[in-house]
Amino acid sequence: MNQIPARALAGVAGGYVLAQWLPLALMEALPLDRVDTVALALLMSFAVYVAAILWCFAARSAWRACAGLALVGLPCGALLLALGRWP
């Protein structure tokens, strides 16, 4: 029973944010029209969500779990903010 509530919260909440920010950020690298961009990001989002949740339980501690999410998520968020794609 290693820090389950903290990991679960990080996974569910942090994962939800990452599930939307990461695909959007990745899509910025692809020159697709906005329909395909949004569609592809939506299709990907649930896979990212599941991966994020699993990461939060695989990480060696809840702290590392959060750090991992932040490490990937914050640059994505910053990129989106800078590009005016702030949802």
């Binding site: 029973m1 290693n2 389950i4 990991r7 679960a8 599930a19 939307q20 920010w21 695909p23 959007l24 906005r34 329909v35 395909d36 961009t37 949004v38 569609a39 592809l40 990001a41 939506l42 299709l43 989002s45 649930f46 896979a47 969500y49 599941v50 949740i53 699993l54 339980f57 695989a58 060696r60 989106l80 794609r85 702030w86 949802p87």
Partner: protein, 514 residues
């Protein structure tokens, strides 16, 4: 793969599984019933005649057009569903009225309205419950079902990844070993339907993707329903219908249009004929085929309504992302499935339902065995879950049976009859919960098993005695939907009877030995 990961994901799988298990069981069971929604519709509207055995599409379309011309000439759009397909067994004409669609089933030869059936939600309502639930506001239901689905997906992935002996346990089921047997069953049921489980879960989420992941859409289209609507319109390449010109013009004969369509797609392949702006010079007739594959977006032939000329054969959008999305949703719905594949879909759904059920039972069996080993006293939580499990696993089938019994026993002119059929389902489910709380679990399982056996197995008798046909007549008359429902109900009832009998014998032996 560290022991910590396996342990933690196992803990989450167990506890969230327990919390969401009843909901997932409900979703799986009603969803499985949904693969036979049309057959259930048929049984729940016995007043309608059996679907026509042979169909002349041109004649049927003309019959519908005669009716629509006579009764709904002013409508902006007519939609005609041609009979002869599993999900459109009867000729049905529909038109928009006051913001919703009105429809009338018609005789395929004469165009006369068929007898108005009893007000019922039918198989469609039962199927809808699997994502819309019931009594909850739409948003709440969507988020709850969405959360349960994400959890299921996490459980499937973690179950595979963290299962130490995935390959060596692949074909393993050890009977008669208590907890071990239940775990084996739970694993086998999941593993043997794994492709279906992943498909049904991920595609289920795609249905709600725009609502569940709103920031993705709002980043490019702006916030709120306006942005979402804009995205969906662009994604599906939805074309707004042309405005009427105001100049009246009679509709050209539709039979030649159907002939062209059938030449392109094959005899009997046309399923929907839509007339936009009927009676106007700018009228359009859009003809669509029945689905033959998982892709739901099909080619549509568009004809000029006044002259009858073919204007375009509108190919489905070539957009890759739309193809992927429509393919996933099409696989989930299985509308294209023929009889064999449809039964395979239903079987996979049933095995998935059993996967959830075995998980719930495993939780209690594991703890009971531990108690016996440690000579402990049962914890209140364990006693509660043991009872809830009965009401979930056997109670819901009883409740669904009650839905069908209500369909035949409620007075025909009862106000909100369809609503009351649904209430009957949930009232019955509540009753099974009460029963499960009042009886010792071993007895409760037997009694509810017997109740399910009766509630389902006696449906053919109920059918014969109340406005329906008896099985012999529907079989002889080729009314496969009606006969199929009765036979399936009989088979399910028999299965429950056998299980209840076995549980009864086991309970007797335990009581005798105690």
């Amino acid at each position: 793969m560290t022991g910590g990961f396996r342990q933690s994901t196992s803990w989450v799988h167990t506890w969230v599984g327990l919390l969401l298990g009843s909901l997932l069981y409900f979703i799986f069971l009603t969803g499985t019933a949904g693969y036979f929604d049309s057959e259930i519709d048929r049984w729940m509207r016995p007043e309608l005649p059996p679907p026509p055995a042979t169909v002349d599409s041109a004649r049927a379309a003309d019959a519908a057009l005669r009716y629509l011309n006579a009764h709904e000439a002013g409508a902006e759009r007519w939609t005609i569903q041609l009979p002869g397909h599993r999900d459109t067994p009867h000729l049905v004409a529909s038109w928009p009225h006051d913001g919703h669609m009105e429809e009338q089933a018609l005789d395929a030869d004469s165009g006369e309205p068929l007898a108005t059936p009893r007000e019922t939600g039918g198989g469609q309502l039962l199927y809808r419950m699997h994502w819309r639930l019931h009594y909850l506001p739409a948003g709440a239901a969507l988020w709850l079902v969405g959360a349960a689905t994400v959890f299921l997906l996490v459980s499937l992935v973690s179950g595979v990844v963290a299962h130490k002996r995935f390959f060596s346990d692949f074909f393993t089921f050890r009977a008669g070993k208590g907890q071990r047997s239940w775990l084996d069953a739970h694993n086998v049921l999941g593993v043997m339907t794994l492709p279906f489980q992943f498909m049904i879960t991920y595609s289920g989420l795609i249905f709600f993707a725009v609502t569940l992941m709103p920031w993705v859409v709002s980043a490019h289209y702006g916030a709120g329903p306006a942005g979402q609507g804009q995205f969906l319109a662009e994604f599906s390449a939805w074309q707004a219908p042309a405005a009427p010109s105001g100049t009246p013009a009679p509709l050209a004969p539709v039979a030649p249009m159907l002939a062209q369509a059938e030449q392109r797609w094959g005899r009997g392949s046309v399923q929907v004929v839509e007339v936009l702006n009927p009676g106007d010079a700018s009228a359009r007739v859009q003809i669509a085929p029945v689905l033959t594959g998982p892709l739901r977006n099909v080619e549509v032939m568009v004809f000029d309504g006044a002259s009858g000329a073919l204007l375009e054969t509108r190919a489905p959008s070539r957009r890759g992302t739309l193809t992927v999305a429509e393919g996933m949703l099409g696989l989930h719905e299985g509308l294209f499935a023929g009889p064999v594949l449809r039964w395979l879909y239903a079987l996979s759904g049933l095995l998935g339902t059993a996967m959830v059920a075995t998980g719930l039972v495993l939780w209690t069996v594991k703890r009971r065995q531990k108690l016996e080993r440690d000579q402990g006293r049962p914890h209140r939580g364990l006693r509660l879950v043991e009872r809830l499990n009965v009401a979930t696993v056997f109670g819901l089938p009883v409740a669904i049976g009650a839905y069908f019994w209500a369909n035949r026993l409620l007075p025909i002119d009862l106000a909100d009859r369809a609503g009351w059929e649904a209430h009957a389902l949930f009232i019955a489910w509540g009753a099974t919960l009460l029963h499960a709380c009042l009886r010792p679990p071993p007895r409760a399982w037997v009694e509810q098993g017997a109740l399910a056996a009766g509630a389902l197995g006696l449906l053919p008798v109920l059918n014969a005695l109340t406005d329906g046909q008896h099985l012999g007549a529907s079989w002889a008359g080729g009314d496969w939907a009606m006969a199929g429902f009765d036979l399936t109900a009989l088979a399910l009832g028999s299965a429950f009877a056998w299980i209840a009998w076995r549980l009864h014998r086991r309970a007797r032996r335990t009581e005798a030995g105690a």
